[in-house]
Each structure stands twice: as structure tokens, then as C-alpha cells.
């Protein structure tokens, strides 16, 4: 059973007559294009919405993996402090094989990715999201290729100034040897939690993946045994021969159930766990960004102080450098305020995001656990029913002398 995660802004389906705003996206129909090293997969991205910013109620575009990467990178830059939904891994190697399993898990992960953005209060406002969902393929390609490698032109100067300051100011001047870090006990706890959490989730995911394999192996062995029993049945006569052959057939049937369940397990249990790990890694990236923001804020604050002192000195000596210094000071002041503002926004956002993250994960895991348990119960029931149906037949096969 597939999980279509068409999460909308409200909980209504797109088809209901809505006064409520909705935005739902689905990533479907993976198609392999190109050859050899150039080969890639394209996806149909279908957007259904009644939001005014969007053109029309339904739009279909074709996107590839690197388009999703573009979107993620843009949002990561613009929405500092928000835990950006994670993308499935790049994996250059697996790409070549393009196994059905790989294609399917990637498609599902991309679908989840876009929908998370579309249902996030702040992220759904993003222009880049709109572009991603609506732009034609040529535009998308142009945008995508601009991204490769280096950072592109950023609006204005503040960031530039901040960066300049960073390169100009050395730790020696500031009199500090080690990088500046926040000394916030609660935040420290949070960071520790995140780092520990990654370990736990990674281990859980590892075992989940192994479990998928075990299901497949178990299925294979039952199938092989079934065949062997059938052959053995051919050596035996009468009812015993029949018994073996019935058992063999059932064994093969049960084996099929196992293979099916293995796939379900992969898509609905292992992948969500993997997604969890990625989400935690995304948080770590945000944590790193916050550390940067904090450092910039601190460094600029320091720089400002020094500049102030310098400026006062210059004023006292009525140097002709005063004018220049004043301008520089004003720019730096603005930059410093910007850096502080960015930092504080990040802190605020992160606080909200932590809560949202916990709720999202509780929900995601709840669903995953539910699917897992249902699948296992379904499998076990299937086993019980199949084997049980054999019992009357076996009972009927009494040995001759009895």
C-alpha cells in the first residue's frame, strides 16, 4: 500500500470545494532518460492549488534530481534557522544500476521533500518553491546550471561586508585563539540531543534494512524448500506424495507473501527511518549555520567597538580621514546589526522548529510503526491461514496401516 503524502496546508483533499487554501504536490512517473554516464531520471511534478500566487489550479512540470537539489540549496540559504527537509542521497554509483527499488525509494523521498516544503508555514511562501513548481523546463535548466559550484550573486553588500570582515579580522587581532561559541546551556543540551539522536536513528535504520533482507532470505529459503519437497513427494506414493506436493506448493505461496512484505517494509518502515536520519543531519547543518551566524555577530560586534575607538581618536586629532572612517563605521554598524538580526532570527526560528520537528517525527514514526505492525500482522496472518489450510489435507493422509 503506497503512502501518498499529499499533505496540504489544511487537512482537506484538493478536490473538496475549498475556501481553505491548499497546496499539494505529487512527484510521480519516474522515467529514465539519456544514456550511459549521462543517464538520469525525470519525474512528473504535479501541483494542485488554489493559492493566488500560482498560475491555475493544476500544473505539471518535468523535473530531475538536480532541480530538487537547486530548490533545497536556495531554501537553505534563504531560510536560515529552519530545518530544511532532507533530500535522498546523491549516490553516483547506484544511479548507474537504476534498480527499480532505487527509483521507487528516491521518488518517494522526493515526493515527501516537496510536500514538506509546501506545508511548512514559512517555506511555502518561498519564490523558489513557486519557480520550482511552475517554471518551464528550459528556465529550470538555466537556473540549475547557474548553481553549479560557486555561490552566485547575492543581493547586496551586507553579507559581502560580513565576509570581508571575516577575512580581514584574524583571531590574533581579536585576541582569541579558539572559535567563538554560544554558552547557552539549554542549546548545548539540544545539540547534544541531536548528535546522540543521529546515532540512535542510524542504528535503528541499519537494523530495519537488515530486516528487509531477512524477509527476502526467508522467502527464498521457503521457496527452495517447497521445490525440494515437491521433488521428494515425487519419490513417495499415494497420500504422502500428495502431502509433500501440497506442502511444497503452500511453501512457495508463503514465500511470495514474504517477498511482498519485504518491499512494503522497505518503503514504509526502512525509508521513513532513513528519512529521519537525514532530517537529523539537516538539523546539524542548521546548527553549523547558527554557529557561523553567531560567530559573525560576535566578530562584527568586536569590530564595531574597535572602529568606534578608532573613530573617536580620529575625531580628536581632526584627521582628514574622519569622513572616510565615519562612512566605514556606518556600513559596519549596519552590517553588525544585520548579523545580529540574522542570528536572532535563527534562534527564534530554531526554537519553533524544534517543536515542529518533534511533532512531525512523532507523526511520521507513528505512521511508520503502524504500517510496520500492520504489515507484520498481515504477513503472520497470511502464514497462519496458508498453513492452516493444509491441516485437514494432512490429516486426511493417514498412513496405510492406521
Amino acid at each position: 500500500m503506497e503512502q501518498q503524502r499529499t499533505v496540504s496546508g489544511s487537512s482537506q483533499s484538493p478536490r473538496s470545494p475549498s475556501s481553505q487554501p491548499y497546496l499539494s504536490v505529487s512527484v510521480t512517473d519516474p522515467v529514465k532518460l539519456g544514456n550511459g554516464v549521462q543517464a538520469y531520471i525525470s519525474y512528473r511534478v504535479i501541483t494542485k492549488t488554489n493559492l493566488p500566487e500560482y498560475q491555475g489550479t493544476e500544473k505539471i512540470v518535468i523535473r530531475r534530481y538536480s532541480d530538487f537539489v537547486w530548490l533545497r540549496d536556495r531554501i537553505f540559504d534563504k531560510y536560515k534557522g529552519i530545518f530544511i527537509p532532507p533530500l535522498p542521497e546523491k549516490s553516483a554509483v547506484e544511479k548507474f544500476r537504476f534498480s527499480a527499488e532505487f527509483i521507487e525509494t528516491r521518488r518517494q523521498a522526493l515526493d515527501v521533500f516537496v510536500n514538506r516544503i509546501a506545508s511548512h508555514r514559512e517555506l511555502q511562501q518561498s519564490d523558489d518553491l513557486r519557480t520550482f513548481l511552475q517554471a518551464d523546463e528550459e528556465t529550470m535548466e538555466r537556473l540549475r546550471s547557474q548553481e553549479t559550484g560557486i555561490f552566485k550573486k547575492k543581493p547586496v553588500d551586507f553579507l559581502q561586508i560580513i565576509k570581508d570582515v571575516q577575512t580581514k579580522m584574524s583571531d590574533v587581532v581579536l585576541g582569541k585563539e579558539k572559535p567563538v561559541e554560544e554558552s547557552n546551556a539549554e542549546y548545548e543540551k539540544l545539540k547534544h540531543y541531536i548528535f546522540e539522536l543521529e546515532n540512535h536513528m542510524a542504528e535503528a535504520q541499519k537494523h530495519a534494512y537488515r530486516l528487509v533482507k531477512r524477509h527476502r532470505e526467508y522467502g527464498q529459503s521457503l521457496s527452495d524448500l517447497g521445490k525440494a519437497f515437491k521433488l521428494l513427494g515425487d519419490c513417495e506414493v499415494d497420500s504422502l506424495g500428495k502431502a509433500f506436493s501440497e506442502l511444497g506448493t503452500k511453501s512457495e505461496a508463503v514465500s511470495t507473501k514474504l517477498q511482498k512484505e519485504a518491499h512494503q517494509l522497505l518503503m514504509n518502515f526502512e525509508e521513513p527511518l532513513k528519512d529521519y536520519v537525514r532530517a537529523v543531519q539537516s538539523i546539524k547543518a542548521t546548527i553549523a549555520e547558527r554557529a557561523n551566524a553567531f560567530r559573525q555577530h560576535c566578530e562584527l560586534a568586536e569590530t564595531i567597538k574597535l572602529k568606534e575607538i578608532n573613530l573617536d581618536k580620529l575625531m580628536l586629532t581632526r584627521s582628514d580621514k574622519v569622513g572616510e572612517a565615519e562612512i566605514e563605521y556606518k556600513e559596519l554598524k549596519a552590517a553588525s546589526e544585520e548579523a545580529t538580526r540574522r542570528y536572532e532570527t535563527m534562534v527564534r526560528r530554531m526554537n519553533e522548529e524544534f517543536l515542529r520537528f518533534q511533532e512531525e517525527k512523532t507523526n511520521d514514526m507513528g505512521i511508520a510503526f503502524h504500517e510496520f505492525a500492520r504489515g507484520q500482522a498481515r504477513l503472520a496472518n497470511g502464514f497462519a491461514d496458508a498453513w492452516r489450510s493444509l491441516l485437514p489435507k494432512l490429516d486426511a493422509c493417514s498412513p496405510v496401516s492406521q
Binding site: E236, G366, H370, S401
Partner: protein, 574 residues
């Protein structure tokens, strides 16, 4: 609970963590866990305390071949064997049989497991599954119960080349029987593995044509590779199985060899098998005499044994020559295997052996796969338990606590399911072991068939011998009749030849009788084997399926609960 069990599937590290899991998990006991643990504790107390008194309660009918599906019942009543009790509990019949007949988590079922009535109930079920008995067992009263236990190291006392002496292991072999021939109802002896080899060899000689159960391997390699303790234990189990099989064979159980082995204290009074080298040496010594004497004769009493393995090299060569002539010679041998039915049967046995081997391999794969499932589920459960603890410790909001609770539910279920898989597997092993057992028995079948063909070869050889002796005699007669008054030397030779012919005739008669006897044994044994095999296989299938059903139901229940507990999420997502 499981800590006391000696299942090979457990790994050390998992033990420790399992302890953790038990502590964490069992605070919300599910019905089945309780009933399960009650059942087990009832059983183990039964084992340890009233082993002796409980023995008569269980009908250990002579036909309860360890090959049968529910061997656990006989394993219940280990006498004396130290490590036995613990190992036994792993052989306890699972509630699964009961579960299929009753419903899995009945309070009634749980109650049934407690208390002493259970063994008889189980044996009733056992009786209903056990195969129809051969005549000996139908009488119900006769039984021979053999236990192998108490391995001990002993010193070789005489002539050892190695200073400090050789050590070897002896096993205590205890027999309980009501068969009058034994002249006693319970007795024990100490035997070493070498004695078992002797027993096995003597039986093979005495019971040609019978499907004599094969003895455990000498397995020199394994004894080096394995830990001494493990190896000794493995051997102990194998010996017990072997002796019990012997005791189950309707003809062999009456043999003197077995009686002597089980009863006579001290040194085993059976002739030992001298090794091949010294036999060949003996034979080589005799050979020149045989070749140079005109009348080399096979003594009639020797023809009841095959040429191979004996000391008579000449006879060996003759029979070899005959067998080559059979295969490649232009003319038909003097006597052939005519029994078409037998030949068909032989073909079938061969085919059966192939398929058995194949199925046996697949059964092993299945067992491994089930084991792995259980293991991985357990590891998954453990990982989630740790996660639960972690989230609870660090909980800063309700969402986390809810998630921790959900995770715990899943973890608990995974651990339970993991246990069920392991139990399922332990039972599966027992059932599918029937395949391995019969594969081993095919050795006995093949050896019985080869007894037949070597007896036939002996007959054929003797017939050829006779034919050539007679033609020589004729020639001599013709030649000597041409000389008037007789040719003293020729006449003497003729008389010697005629004597040889007479002896050879006797040998021929004996060998034919032997051949017929072996054929008859083959026939009877095949019949018995077919019947027993069909019954055993049917039981194996039934047991296997019942087991799967029982555990599938339990596992399903475990997961259904979790699915129910998390059903709120399902509604939200659709």
C-alpha cells in the same frame, strides 16, 4: 526463562542485552508471556524434582523412535544426566500444538500447562501423532530406554608410547527396560567411543541385509577444531541417538551384541575390529600358500562374510575378477539378480536419497533464515528500546514522550516476535531433523543392499570356481583313463580335486543360503522402512505445519496489538 536454555542460537552479547530487555519489557505483561513462563517453570520443576517418579507416567512406547516428530516427551525424563535438565527444557513441546487445538491465549490453556497433568496430556497427543507401531511395539509393554551421560576423562593404563599416557573419554550408558532377556530392569556401564565402533562393526557382520542404523562418525577433524566440551557434548548426543535407534530396531534390539554392550561391566567382550593394515598383512602372509597349493578353498563358514574386509586375499581377488567379468565379460554370470521388484526398489531408494539430500540442505537454509529473522528482529527491538530510553531521558516536549511510548510498544513487540521466531525455529529443527535422520539411514539401506550384492558375488564366484574345477576334473579323468593301470599321480590329483569340489559345493550351498537369507532380510526391512518412513514423514509434515500455524498466530497477535495502538496515525494520514 530463556536464560537457562541451552539453545545454540543465542549469542553471548544478546544474552546480556536480553536481560535488559526482560527488565524493560516485562512491566506490561502480555497474557502469553505469563502463560509461557508459567508453563516453562512448571516444566522445569517437573524435570528437576520428580524426574524419577514421573517416568512411569509417560508412555515411552517402544515405537517412540527419536526419528518421530514429538521426541520431546522421551527427553523429559533424563535420569542423572547433569547437563541434561537444562538442555531438555529447550526440547519442550511448545504450546503451539495446544494452541491450534485450543485458542492461543486461553486462560484455560495457560492453566493446563501448569501442574503435573500436562505430561500425560502431551503424551496422549503424542500417541495420536505417533506412527502405527510395528508388532513389537503394538504389545505396548516392551520398552528399552537408553540414556548416555556423564562423560569422563580416563587414562590409558597399558602400553602407551606417549609418556603420561593417552586419555580418552568414557560415557555412562544407562538402560532401563522391562524386556526379560536382559535379566534386570536398570543397569549402567561405562563405554568409550571405540567400543561403539566395535559394536557397530559386529552388528554389521551379524546382521547382513538389515538396515542397521549407522553409528556416529569418528570425525577426527571436528575433534581438533571444536572445543573439547562442545565436541564431547555433541558426541554424547549422537551416541544416545544411535543407541536408541538400535533399541528401536525390532530385530537388533534382541541381539546379543547389543545386550552385551549395554550390560557387561568392564571391558567390552566383543571381538575388536583389527585395522585394515593388519588384516591385509595377515592376508598377505597367507597368500603365497594359497597360490602355490593346488587346492585353495574357501571354507564354507567363511562365505557367510563378504570377501572384502577379510583376510583371504585370494578370495578377494577371485571375487574381484568375477565382478569384472560380470560387468565386462561377454557371457552372462552364472546367477543374476532377478528380482525386478527389488531392482525397481533399489532405483527408488537411490532417487529418494538424492531428493532427501536436497531437501535436507534446503531445510538447513530455512532454519538459518528463521534464525536470522529472529535475531534481526531482536536487534531491532533492542535498538528501539535504547531509543525509547534516550527520548524519555531527554524529553523536552510531549511529542517526544508520545513518540517514546510508541517506540516502546514497537520495541516490545519486536522482542516478543523475535523470541517466537527462535522458538519456532527450535521446533522446526526438531521436525525437519527427520530429513537428516533418514538421510543417515540411507547409509544403512545402501549397506544392506551391498550386503546383498557382495553375497551374490560370492555365489557367482563360487559357481565359476566350481565350473572350472569340474572341467579340470573332467580333463584329468579323460587323460588318466587313457593310461592303462592308471596314472598314480593323476589319480591322486583327481581325488584331491574331487575333494576340493565337494568342499566348494558345500561352500556354494552355504553361500546361496546366505544370499537368500540376505534377500529375505532386505525384503522385510524394505517393507518396514517404507512403512516407518511414511509415518515419520507424515508426522514431520504435520508437526512442521502445526508449528508454523501456532507461532504465526502468536506473532500475529503481537503485531495486531501494536497496529491497534497506533491506529490513530493511520486515520490522520489518509
Amino acid at each position: 526463562m530463556m536464560d537457562s536454555e541451552n539453545q545454540g542460537f543465542e549469542e553471548a552479547h544478546l544474552y546480556a542485552s536480553k536481560e535488559e530487555m526482560e527488565n524493560l519489557v516485562l512491566d506490561d505483561p502480555l497474557n502469553d508471556t505469563k502463560s509461557h513462563s508459567n508453563y516453562r517453570s512448571a516444566m522445569s520443576s517437573l524435570l528437576s524434582s520428580s524426574a524419577a517418579s514421573a517416568a512411569p507416567v509417560v508412555v515411552t512406547p517402544a515405537d517412540s523412535d527419536p526419528l518421530l516428530a514429538p521426541p520431546p516427551f522421551s527427553d523429559f525424563h533424563h535420569t542423572g544426566g547433569g547437563g541434561g535438565a537444562a538442555a531438555d527444557s529447550s526440547y519442550l513441546d511448545p504450546p503451539s500444538y495446544a494452541d491450534v487445538i485450543f485458542s492461543p491465549f486461553d486462560a484455560d490453556t495457560a492453566a493446563e500447562f501448569n501442574g503435573v497433568e500436562s505430561p500425560s496430556q502431551r503424551s496422549d497427543r503424542s500417541a495420536s501423532f505417533s506412527r502405527s507401531s510395528s508388532s513389537a511395539a503394538a504389545s505396548g509393554a516392551e520398552h528399552i530406554k537408553i540414556t548416555v551421560s556423564n562423560p569422563q576423562k580416563e587414562q590409558e593404563t597399558t602400553n602407551s608410547l606417549v609418556p603420561g599416557g593417552n586419555t580418552y573419554v568414557t560415557y555412562l550408558i544407562t538402560t532401563r527396560t522391562n524386556v526379560p532377556d536382559f535379566g534386570g530392569s536398570e543397569f549402567s556401564v561405562r563405554r568409550r567411543f571405540r567400543d561403539v565402533v566395535t559394536l557397530s562393526d559386529r552388528l554389521a557382520e551379524a546382521y547382513r541385509g538389515f538396515f542397521v542404523p549407522p553409528r556416529p562418525d569418528k570425525s577426527v577433524v571436528e575433534s581438533q577444531v571444536m572445543q573439547k566440551q562442545e565436541f564431547v557434548e555433541q558426541r554424547r548426543v549422537a551416541l544416545e541417538k544411535y543407541l536408541r535407534r538400535l533399541a528401536d530396531h525390532p530385530v537388533i534390539r534382541k541381539s546379543d551384541e547389543l545386550k552385551v554392550f549395554l550390560q557387561v561391566q568392564g571391558k567390552l567382550p566383543l571381538p575388536t575390529t583389527t585395522d585394515v593394515a593388519s588384516r591385509m598383512l595377515d592376508g598377505a602372509v597367507k597368500l603365497p600358500k594359497q597360490l602355490f597349493s593346488e587346492s585353495s578353498v574357501v571354507a564354507p563358514h567363511e562365505v557367510v562374510q563378504p570377501a572384502k574386509g577379510g583376510r583371504d586375499l585370494l578370495r578377494l581377488f577371485k571375487e574381484l575378477k568375477q565382478s569384472v567379468a560380470n560387468d565386462w565379460g561377454g557371457s552372462k554370470p552364472p546367477l543374476v539378480e532377478e528380482d525386478k521388484e527389488f531392482m525397481e526398489k533399489k532405483e527408488k531408494m537411490h532417487e529418494l536419497e538424492q531428493q532427501l539430500s536436497h531437501a535436507s540442505q534446503q531445510a538447513e537454509s530455512l532454519v538459518k533464515a528463521q534464525q536470522d529473522m529472529g535475531e534481526t528482529l531482536g536487534e531491532l527491538g533492542l535498538a528501539f528500546i535504547k531509543l525509547t530510553k534516550f527520548e524519555n531521558e531527554e524529553a523536552a516536549c510531549d511529542a517526544q514522550r508520545v513518540r517514546a511510548a510508541d517506540t516502546k510498544g514497537l520495541a516490545t513487540a519486536a522482542v516478543k516476535a523475535s523470541r517466537f521466531y527462535r522458538e519456532l525455529n527450535a521446533q522446526t529443527v526438531k521436525h525437519l531433523d527427520t530429513l537428516h535422520d533418514y538421510l543417515g539411514l540411507m547409509l544403512a539401506v545402501n549397506s544392506a543392499f551391498s550386503d546383498r550384492s557382495s553375497a551374490l558375488l560370492t555365489v557367482q564366484t563360487l559357481l565359476s570356481d566350481l565350473a572350472s574345477l569340474q572341467s579340470r576334473a573332467e580333463k584329468l579323468e579323460v587323460a588318466s583313463s587313457k593310461i592303462f593301470g592308471g596314472d598314480k599321480s593323476r589319480i591322486r590329483k583327481l581325488e584331491e580335486l574331487q575333494e576340493t569340489i565337494r568342499v566348494t559345493e558345500d561352500a556354494k550351498s552355504v553361500s546361496i543360503r546366505e544370499y537368500e537369507r540376505i534377500k529375505e532380510n532386505n525384503r522385510n526391512e524394505l517393507e518396514r522402512f517404507d512403512m516407518e518412513r511414511q509415518a515419520d514423514f507424515l508426522n514431520m509434515l504435520k508437526g512442521f505445519v502445526l508449528n508454523q500455524v501456532g507461532y504465526a498466530e502468536k506473532i500475529s497477535n503481537v503485531w495486531s496489538k501494536v497496529a491497534e495502538d497506533t491506529s490513530g496515525y493511520a486515520r490522520e494520514s489518509s
